[in-house]
């Protein structure tokens, strides 16, 4: 069995990287190797995981500097003998080892507008056409791994922006509400200044790392930015609204 050279962050912020050699077999993912490390050499290693199938979003970490899911990173992707650095998410406060406190995300989630559904049809049912909803199905694939939040330089390099910036995962959620065919929120509730959309400079790192392959920038952020332009920066649209009225939900 080959050996993997791991460099794993140990301890809290006063901690350090510790080198380990761990045996692994073909077909393993990094999370398997971390589990073997835990079972054989480092019984107190803290690591969060749940499904080992890329669906629970718990095992996010930074492997060789890239934010990824440990359970979806195959050992074959490394050159044999290469040192594999396993670090916790760096944007969020560290608790211990590979576990960070991601509760900032939960607080942001509470500020998100809820769907306000329009009144049901006469028979008591609500109806949506497939062509109105299919654009949003991609957004529901989000597993809340917060890898996109971690990689986003707006907060990664400038934590002071956490006050006013919701982050890519929540722009996906905002787009989901904003584009919903039955939603009755006024446009301002979903594209308003409050969420820091204008801090995003569409450099697309969130899209690059999303394990669910959600086109966060092209399908959520840019459409929201364009909706913001409609609301705030388009004098032609504003004039049309003044003259003909309406314009909130189309």
């Amino acid at each position: 069995m080959p050996n993997a050279h791991l460099k794993v962050w140990r301890g809290d912020t006063g901690g350090a990287y510790v080198d380990y050699d761990v045996e692994y077999e073909e077909g393993m993912v990094v999370l398997d190797v971390v589990h073997r490390l835990q079972a054989t050499q480092a019984g107190d290693l803290a690591v969060r995981w749940n499904c080992k199938a890329g669906k629970c979003g718990s095992c996010s970490a930074e492997i060789n500097g890239k934010p990824v899911l440990q359970c979806m990173t195959r050992m074959e992707t490394f050159i044999p003998g290469e040192t594999i650095t396993v670090a916790p998410l760096k944007t969020f406060p560290l608790i211990r080892d590979l576990v960070t406190d991601v509760s900032w995300n939960y607080r942001v989630a509470e500020t998100m507008p809820e769907l306000k559904l329009s009144a049901p049809d006469a028979d008591g049912h609500r109806r949506m056409a497939q062509i109105d909803i299919d654009r949003e199905q991609e957004f529901r694939k989000c597993i809340e791994c917060y890898i996109c939040q971690d990689v986003c330089h707006v907060i990664r390099d400038h934590p002071e922006n956490m006050e006013k910036f919701a982050g890519p995962r929540f722009f996906v959620q905002l787009a989901n509400v904003s584009m919903h065919p039955l939603d009755q929120n006024p446009a301002k509730a979903t594209v308003s200044h409050g969420f820091g959309l204008d801090y995003c400079n569409i450099t697309k790192c969130c899209t690059d790392v999303c394990p669910e392959g959600i086109h966060i920038t092209d399908n959520a952020i840019i459409p929201l930015k364009e909706r913001r332009v409609d609301e705030y920066y388009d004098p032609v649209k504003a004039l049309v609204r003044k003259v003909f009225g309406g314009g909130d939900k189309k």
Binding site: G65, V151, T203
Partner: protein, 255 residues
């Protein structure tokens, strides 16, 4: 509990082991070459010819050359502000130059040098919101460029024919059209801004247009580079022919 910044500094600038700098450096260099070339050519430094037989450099299409402009004035100045503004505010080009030139960030999970960051919320970057207005102008340029391409098959005095220059100008018009059609603002305007596609026949049609724009939009980066190269190559080729450096292969006898 620890703050993110402390963790950040402790961990250093990046732990990435791949060649993350390659793409921003290569794209930035390519873009810089184009900017320098198009500035020199656009201001018509050296007063070289930009018209050869039936061909007119796309930098000058449509040719506006009134008599009141001073000697040094290049007619391309009437044209180039539009594609310049369009590309400078394009969502793809923003990604590229924020990474390559502003290092904001240079690559994902690589720390950036700037102390403060306000993104596109403040001047000057808030001006990016004007992109759709440049789009409107760029849309007008599509027929103009096709007109220039069509004209390149008609040699005054001789009539219909074809040359290498005509093929280049057709390819250029096509690539610029595809770049413009894939624009994210256009995607919003044709249908992306709607929440109900199924409501009327008109909105159903707009959904179809949205689908079409989406196809071009998915390759927006590729169209952006292909059209940037093609417009530069068209100008260079026509100038080389016009100034006698090379001969255009064509079916005409007088040119």
């Amino acid at each position: 509990m620890a703050q993110a910044t402390e963790v950040q500094q402790r961990y250093g600038k990046t732990q990435r082991t791949d060649r993350w700098w390659l793409e921003p450096v290569a794209l930035g260099a390519g873009f810089l070459i184009f900017v320098i070339y198009s500035t020199v050519s656009g201001f018509n430094v050296g007063n070289w010819h930009y018209e050869a037989g039936p061909y007119l450099s796309p930098f000058f299409e449509p040719l506006i050359n009134p008599s009141w402009t001073p000697e040094w004035f290049s007619p391309a100045i009437f044209i180039l502000w539009a594609p310049l503004g369009f590309r400078a505010t394009c969502y793809y080009y923003r990604r590229m130059y924020y990474r390559s030139f502003f290092m904001s960030p240079m690559a994902c999970a690589v720390s950036e040098p700037a102390k403060y960051y306000t993104g596109e919320s403040k001047f000057p970057f808030i001006l990016m919101n004007s992109h759709r207005f440049f789009l409107y102008v760029a849309l007008l340029f599509i027929p103009v460029l096709w007109y220039g391409a069509a004209k390149s098959f008609w040699m005054p005095g001789e009539g219909l024919g074809i040359g290498v220059g005509s093929i280049i100008l057709v390819a250029n018009a096509f690539l610029l059209m595809m770049f413009t059609i894939g624009c994210n603002s256009l995607r919003h305007i044709v249908g992306g801004g709607l929440n109900c596609f199924s409501c009327t026949n008109f909105t159903r049609t707009r959904r179809k247009m949205w689908d079409l724009v989406t196809v071009a939009n998915e390759r927006h980066k590729a169209w952006a580079w292909a059209s940037l190269v093609s417009v530069g190559v068209s100008d260079l080729y026509i100038r080389l022919v016009a100034n006698g450096a090379i001969t255009d292969i064509n079916t005409w006898t007088t040119f």
